[in-house]
Amino acid sequence: MEGTMTKVSIVGVAQTRFEERIASLAINELVYMVVRELLHKTGVSMKEIRSIVTASQDAWDGRTISGMTINEVVGGYLNAEAKVAADGLQALLYGAARIMSGEYTLTLVVAHCKESEGTPHAITNLMFDPFTQRHLGLDDVTAAALQARRYMRLRGLAAEDIAAVAVKNHRHAKKNPFAQRAGDFTITDVLNSPILADPIHELEAAPQSDGACALLLASESKARTVTDHPVFIIGMGNATDAYWTDRELGEAKALRQAASRAYRMAGIEYPAHEIDVAEISARYAYEELMAMEALGLSEAPQDMLARGDCEIGGRLPINPSGGPLCGNPVTVSGLVRVVEAYLQLTDQAGEHQVHGAQTALAHGAGGICGQNQSVVILRRE
């Protein structure tokens, strides 16, 4: 970031527990819990916050203008409140731009989704073109399965290579108190779990999940008054690719583009050596390998994974939280990656802490087969 742009920092984060169904809480109650915790942790009063960016989606909430369900609990009244109907990491980019403009010293960023309240198949079917594709009954899982096959074919990957991602992430998730699904699964366990759409097995797909997360962005000078340990956003990039049937599905070109923008802004030349920990929005196991390649973290991610380099304690831990495979709803997925990266850079990650992490990467994705991609690079002082 150069010129007169204000530096953006994160001064606090909060996340709810993630569960298959949080039936006892309405959406506004769930979001209130996470915002209240964030304010409590940072000591910032809602009266000081004039800028709010939320992420939620009308189809998932079953209500248009879904941001209005949570208007009071995010302090929206008569403030600069805006909603992003996309992955939560997009809300962070929007919020960061507000800080960079110099117009706001604080911005609250919140994402929520309760997948349990709607009908995931029917809702994700709405993503597809109604003229040529939607009537065939496609949904998120089916499209992912088609992409997975294409990617595996291009790279010569075996089912075991993909399953290894799920094994590693579920093991990591055992150390993350917010994770919804965790365990010591073997590759055989993963490949024996029910098949959703070949080649994707249940343990290779994000489970149905409810939850929310929030974080507080601040200008550098404001950050100094809130915390002794601000984490700075040193790079940001996003990119949108062609529609899923119009592009090479086995390559994550938009992610390559988003990453190169973020790295350029951050001054990162050799990401595989300069990134200490990465939180990747892999809602399906194969996506983690695709993303590692596109992010320039590895040319042969399956080998890196097999060597144990992606484990907590390895050379470049990937998804020490367990990632979305262990339970984060859509929309929240990308933003909670930043929450986790922040915990890593402030030594607050507890049992899944990556020791000595200075620079972290958080990735978000949305659309059919990751049509839209975003990357944020964070650094501690």
């Binding site: 109650e29 079953g62 609990v73 009244y77 709607g118 009908t119």
Partner: protein, 157 residues
């Protein structure tokens, strides 16, 4: 683009998505009071003393957490009203709702915010802002605002 509307095609798609909205702790208490005691409850802000209906976690103005429940009157005043002449399918019955009918925003006595309901009056001269109204309950009550209150009726000053 030079084609006329009837020279181009349209594609039909029927949306059928089932939702189960979690009412949460506050609305559950609100509905339970309504069902069991026939009582409409609001929540008072300890900061600005506004009384919110329906209940919610915080005061949108003070950002104070709402904790105090207060019973409200089943009478109130019309804040805004209209007589609707446009027919639509009633979501409660699946039938077309007969027109005309009265709609009003109603501020119950003791509340700082309003609710919205039917009024059994279609004469624009009588259905007017500032007119007092009273809730007409439907028995047996099920614990929902749109079901348990059939409509509001006009009451004399």
């Amino acid at each position: 683009m030079t084609k006329k509307d009837d020279e181009t095609q349209r594609v039909q798609y029927l949306l059928d998505i089932e939702y189960h909205y979690a009412a949460g702790e506050l609305a559950t208490r609100f509905f339970t009071e309504l069902k069991e005691a026939g009582r409409i409850m609001g929540m008072r802000c300890s900061g600005c003393h506004r009384v919110y209906l329906p209940p919610r976690p915080v005061c949108g103005i003070c950002y104070k957490e709402l904790k105090d429940w207060v019973p409200l009157s089943d009478e109130g005043i019309i804040v805004g009203c209209t007589v609707v002449h446009l027919p639509f399918i009633d979501p409660m019955t699946g039938e077309q709702r007969p027109v005309p009918y009265g709609f009003a925003i109603i501020r119950l006595d003791g509340a700082s915010t309003s609710i919205y309901h039917f009024v059994d009056e279609t004469d624009e001269k009588k259905l007017r802002v500032g007119q007092r109204v009273k809730a007409v309950f439907r028995e047996p009550r099920t614990g929902s605002l749109h079901h348990d209150i059939k409509y509001f009726r006009l009451v004399g000053k």
